[in-house]
């Protein structure tokens, strides 16, 4: 069983569309994250939720809206997609916040291409 799973794995969509990426973890963790990896492989945190509450919200356009229906799920919705949104988006989780010294586990990534 995959510990942190995200869907879809690949997504090609047109500019202006709205799309969602779903993430689920079966590790019983309290904290979940979204990271973005750009074309230069740089990984940057976007959001972090702890027990469904937003705890980290980096400088991300408000077209990106995370939603956590329960602590095992953290979905990412993106409105009005732009070319610059093309990237790999990684979901991750940890038992508690990484700032408390907890190991973080990543999903396999979702490759988003905006054309």
């Amino acid at each position: 069983d995959t510990a942190v799973s995200q869907t879809p794995k690949y997504l090609v969509t047109q500019m202006g569309n709205d799309k969602s990426i779903k993430c689920e973890q079966n590790l019983g963790h309290d904290t979940m994250y979204w990271y973005k990896q750009d074309s230069k492989k740089f990984l940057k945190i976007m959001f972090s939720y702890n027990n469904k509450e937003l705890i980290i919200n980096e400088t991300v356009p408000n077209r990106f809206s995370p939603k956590s229906p329960d602590k095992a799920h953290l979905n990412l919705h993106i409105n009005s997609l732009e070319l610059g949104d093309s990237a790999v988006y990684f979901c991750a989780s940890s038992r508690a916040a990484a700032s408390s010294g907890n190991t973080i586990y990543f999903g396999e990534g979702s490759w988003l291409t905006v054309v």
Binding site: K41, I56, S100
Partner: protein
């Protein structure tokens, strides 16, 4: 400014060679992890090592927290070791897991 620096940025190794990757960080940390991103893009957790030394097979890592650096050793490298190695830290002053830019490793047969 830059808070996590990795070196070298690129490394080409012949199969069987040993190598050392370095991660410098700008402040005290309470979380440091090493990851391997394989050529298929999967991020694999190698070590959780805010201090001390750990070994896992041909890989080992050492963090000297007082001197603000961590080292990842790859011994007897294999082609499957190819990929990007990331160091990620949580700085006590910041509270977020911050990644370095990575070291791209290519192991040739």
């Amino acid at each position: 400014g830059i808070q996590v620096e990795q070196s070298p940025p690129d490394l080409i190794l012949q199969e069987g060679a040993n190598s050392t990757l370095r991660c410098n960080f700008s402040d005290s940390v309470n979380n440091l992890q090493w990851f391997h991103q394989n050529p298929w893009g999967q991020l694999i957790n190698l070590f959780y090592i805010p201090s001390g030394t750990k070994q896992n097979g041909r890989l080992s890592a050492t963090t000297v927290a007082t001197e603000r650096y961590s080292l990842l050793y790859i011994s007897s490298s294999q082609t499957t070791d190819s990929g990007v190695y990331f160091c990620a830290v949580v700085l006590e002053s910041w509270g977020k897991l911050q990644f370095g830019a990575g070291t791209q490793v290519v192991v040739t047969p």
